[in-house]
Subunit: 235 residues, 2 copies
């Protein structure tokens, strides 16, 4: 039951321009939740958000609904929308989904990947090497994975995978905290890229599965050590 932190700061931050107010609110809140600035359990009252964003309650309502559909919020009647709690069980859940979806993406994508994708992936690896901000790290990691999957040619599968990956950003913070943020399984990333370039599908899948399993184990032990209680404790 903690207060909403620095709401004004949140509002100001959104860089990209959005066509509608609803999109602006939704994007800002999603970033705040995924990046951990809005901790699990935080109640969001429509009235406060509306004032903070300088809009009416209506776009706020629609944005909250969208976020609820993305499982980032729970609507509690007459108590406000609360940010979904994260837990070790939840992390395992998300990983099970990734483990199911991503090999399917990679398998279908590898045969059709072209030079453009390989170049983009290599560049993303380099960016990750020299990115200090853990917030952007999640985005880079997501883009790297999605580039490798992008040639699968199945839009729904890719969309689902991308949204799952986006949700994973909430756990990535723990991963980084445990590993030291500097190198985040970059060896795995390089190995995946190399396997994809040589069209070695079984190897690529093997590396990917190992990559995911390692991350899952890291986060699990991290949660076990901390206890899930203060899940959102550090911003």
């Amino acid at each position: 039951m903690q207060k909403i932190p620095d709401l004004a700061a949140l509002v100001a931050e959104t860089g990209g321009r959005h066509r509608t107010a609803t999109q602006h609110v939704e994007a800002t809140l999603r970033n705040a939740i995924l990046s951990g600035r809005l901790a699990g359990g935080t109640p969001l009252r429509q009235e406060d958000l509306a004032r903070a964003f300088g809009v009416s309650r209506m776009p706020v309502r629609e944005a909250l609904r969208q976020l609820e559909a993305q499982a980032l919020l729970d609507f509690v009647p007459h108590k406000g929308a609360v940010v979904t709690e994260i837990s070790a069980a939840d992390a395992a859940d998300t990983y099970a989904i990734r483990m199911a979806l991503e090999p399917a993406c990679l398998e279908r994508s590898v045969p059709h990947l072209a030079e453009a994708e390989f170049a983009a992936a290599a560049e993303l690896i380099e960016e990750m090497d020299s990115e200090p901000d853990p917030g952007r790290m999640g985005e880079l990691n997501r883009r790297f994975h999605m580039v490798l999957y992008s040639a699968a040619g199945q839009p729904k599968l890719l969309a689902l995978t991308e949204s799952t990956l986006a949700g994973f950003d909430r756990y990535l913070r723990f991963h980084l905290a445990a590993h030291g943020r500097a190198h985040m399984s970059q060896e795995d990333h390089r190995a995946m890229l190399a396997a994809a370039q040589s069209r070695d599908i079984p190897l690529a899948l093997h590396v990917l599965r190992g990559h995911l399993e390692t991350a899952a184990a890291t986060i699990a032990t991290f949660f076990a050590g901390r206890g899930g209680a203060d899940s959102g404790g550090f911003s």
Copy 2:
């Protein structure tokens, strides 16, 4: 550019009572789309829907947004929301997702299934044997699969699987039309249940994969024969 068919009939049909008007509108429209009564490409104008449901445009708006998040609608600015088209490619896409998610569910669930679930699954098979209405068939099929997965103990994975299965109802009509609705892979269902009961995970997975592949192939050939054009042509 066809007219919305029998909007009044749609509105009246919703049996269950819903707490809010938004939920009512959303449930009714989702049923209509999934069952094929609202064909792909049909434009839905907020004003018309609001009048038909006897509510303001606002709950309609929120319901449409929810359905958009479920990929059942596309928002076209100043043209209204149009029902997503279905196609052979889309069917393949949905099947790829099922093929990725459902074995993962089944694998995790089988060891923990109890008598209650086996009994429920067996009963659902019998119900499907004697169900004449293809509309309810989709629901029964969905419930059968979900019962077998229900002991997986991973709520997000299950939720994702269930929503994918729900979306699959749109294609199920074609499957039924091609096979003759009377028996819809009931042999597969019985075999899956038997394998689950004997805790034979590899066998259960094998049957499930075959089940999904068969259905995918059936729908693909059916689409190929018809051409995807009149996708929503028969209600």
